[in-house]
């Protein structure tokens, strides 16, 4: 059967190629879009967790997508947080989304930030000591080919890069909290607080204490941030569902079209197989296996083209986070195969049910 399938696919190379490319398109579309959206999400979570806090305190109506919030919490709340039992340290952070550069910067208070975070390390230069100094992470520095002491424009103001830190902590650019408050027009305000619990106190106990003390605020466990972000990101689930549906539909329609035209062209061949005693199940398996082979090739090509597209995107936008998990690779393959199998099912059943005499007489 495999030889027959292969020879049939070879016999119509253009159609086979177009079908494979179309399936690959569905796979690549799903993987690239999921890779970019999850990449953004996973990277945001990873860098938020990289700050080192166990909890994030925000106004009750704030979004876990930091870029969507402005500075509304007074910085003095820090003292109140640190008075809560089990809290080791709290640091205010003002988040500002730079629309022109399409990334977020954090305003930090170096003293309290240092008490919450213990992993900030520099590959060049060091912390800022002047109001017009910033530190940038390695990815940002590589993408902009910047080094310590280089100038950097932020919100129309010129800053000097005082140091380059290893990526994975907060935003790609960190600047003094007071400077950003001034530029943002929100003096003494923060977007959120990162809170570190004392090691000896159970996290759940600290969480309950914080909730009790700040009942009108949103307290988020950083360990649960990814899950919460997925649930709260606007239309994220709908986007994922839409992408999966588009991928399945592309495979379904292409395979349906390819297999339907195949069985029409091969009506006589199906008649011959029936005259040789091929059962209905044999003919159904023949068509389904042919579509499976197309889908398998499409999945392979889809993976390859995803890799190429991602590489090109990364080369063009080095700060772009991309994350394609095994789950999404398996899902993309499964969706392509499911769509392809469903698309081949009707032509397969139609072929199996053909009248052998009519099929043999088909010209």
């Amino acid at each position: 059967m495999f030889k027959l399938i292969l020879s049939n696919l070879r016999q119509r190379p253009t159609r086979t190629l177009v079908s494979v490319v179309a399936v690959a398109l569905g796979v690549a579309l799903l993987l690239v879009s999921m890779g970019l959206s999850y990449g953004q999400l996973v990277d945001t979570v990873r860098r938020a967790q990289g700050i080192g806090g166990d909890f994030i305190l925000q106004p009750s109506e704030a979004s876990v997508i930091f870029a969507l919030n402005s500075g509304t919490i007074p910085v003095r709340v820090q003292k109140v947080i640190e008075e809560v039992e089990g809290v080791e340290a709290a640091t205010p952070i003002l988040a500002k989304f730079l629309g022109d550069q399409f990334h977020i910067v954090f305003g930090i208070d170096p003293e309290s930030f240092g008490r919450v975070n213990s992993t900030l390390s520099f590959v060049e230069g060091g912390r800022f000591s002047e109001p017009r100094e910033v530190i940038i992470d390695t990815i940002y520095a590589n993408s902009k080919k910047m080094h310590a002491q280089d100038p950097l424009q932020i919100l129309g103001n010129e800053f000097t890069v005082s140091g380059v830190y290893r990526e994975g902590i907060g935003a790609r650019v960190l600047l003094p909290l007071t400077t950003l408050q001034e530029l943002n027009g929100t003096p003494d305000k923060a977007t959120m607080f990162f809170i570190r619990a004392k090691e000896e106190v159970p996290l759940e106990q600290v969480y309950e204490s914080l909730k009790e003390r700040f009942e009108n605020y949103k307290i988020t466990k950083t360990a649960e941030l990814q899950e919460i972000m997925m649930d709260n990101a606007p239309a994220f689930k709908e986007f994922v569902t839409a992408m999966v549906c588009i991928s399945v539909t592309i495979s379904f329609l292409i395979i349906l079209l390819a297999m339907y035209s195949t069985i029409t062209e091969r009506t006589r061949e199906i008649g011959i197989l029936k005259s040789l005693g091929a059962s209905k199940s044999y003919i159904i398996r023949l068509i389904l296996n042919e579509s499976l082979l197309i889908c398998a090739a499409g999945v392979g090509l889809g993976f390859l083209s995803t890799f190429v597209v991602i590489e090109l995107l990364m080369a063009a936008f080095p700060t772009l986070p991309v994350s394609i998990s095994l789950f999404w690779r398996v899902t993309a393959a499964a969706m392509a195969v499911t769509g392809g199998t469903l698309g081949a099912l009707y032509p397969a059943v139609k072929a199996a049910g053909m009248d052998p005499v009519k099929a043999l007489g088909y010209q």
Binding site: K274, L276, S279
Partner: protein, 243 residues
């Protein structure tokens, strides 16, 4: 014909009627056909176009279902079994040869023949007897050619090899020489004759060709969906029974 005293009936056709329905019009193709074919017999069915020869062959082969009547293949009524069982009988007990060869163009001669074996459920086809058949059909050097690389005669020989590779109880041939020149026709008929005499292959051949009909042991003549020489065929059957 093989020299046996009592041969069993491989095919028995009883009062076979076939009516095609074209929209609301009924077109009778067979109007009560009776005959039987013994094991190892070579029977030719002749008659003008539209007399029902091909319909008869397709009915015997289980490719069509009769309107009424019965067809027994080695004692099993293929007209009353399920589609699945009919397919099984076709796969295990029958071989078809068509006028237009009907080889799969995407496969080589070897693969075309192997396909029949695989559909039957046997993985490898080049066993001793199969090799003998291929040698007899003069196909040993053509096995890796695609159908379009073969002459009409060679294609038909591949089709015959494919039909007999599973050693079917009956070989059904529909105008096997209809598309061949006289030289290739003679060769194909000789091969069918040899399959019948050497291997005892039961053969039913549909033909217009008097030379092809003359190759057979017995001729069934049809016209307007009926057998013309019915009495002669009945006598033949009685003779067989007596012997």
């Amino acid at each position: 014909m093989i020299g046996m005293t009592r041969r069993k009936d491989v095919v028995v056709v009883e009062d076979l009627q076939m009516v095609y329905r074209v929209s609301k019009v009924e077109v009778p193709a067979l109007r009560g056909v009776d005959f039987s074919v013994k094991e190892g017999e070579f029977v030719a069915v002749i008659g003008p176009s539209g007399c029902g020869k091909s319909t008869l062959l397709h009915l015997i082969g289980g490719l069509l279902q009769p309107t009424s009547g019965r067809i027994l293949i080695e004692g099993v009524s293929i007209s009353s079994v399920s589609d699945f069982e009919r397919t099984e009988i076709r796969r295990q007990r029958m071989g078809f040869v068509f006028q237009s060869y009907n080889l799969l163009n995407t496969l080589t001669a070897r693969e075309n023949i192997a396909l029949a074996k695989r559909i039957q459920g046997n993985g490898h086809y080049e066993d001793g007897s199969a090799r003998k058949i291929l040698r007899m059909l003069g196909l040993e050097n053509k096995m890796d050619h695609k159908p379009w690389e073969l002459s009409g005669g060679e294609q038909q020989r591949v089709a015959i090899a494919r039909a007999v590779i599973n050693r079917p109880a009956i070989l059904l041939a529909d105008e096997p020489t209809g598309s061949l020149d006289s030289e290739n026709s003679r060769m194909v008929l000789e091969m069918l004759r040899e399959l019948n005499s050497v291997y005892g292959q039961t053969i039913i051949i549909i033909t217009h060709d008097p030379e092809a009909a003359a190759t057979a042991d017995r001729v069934i003549e049809m016209r307007d969906g009926k057998i013309l020489n019915r009495v002669q065929n009945m006598f033949y059957a009685m003779e067989e029974k007596r012997s």
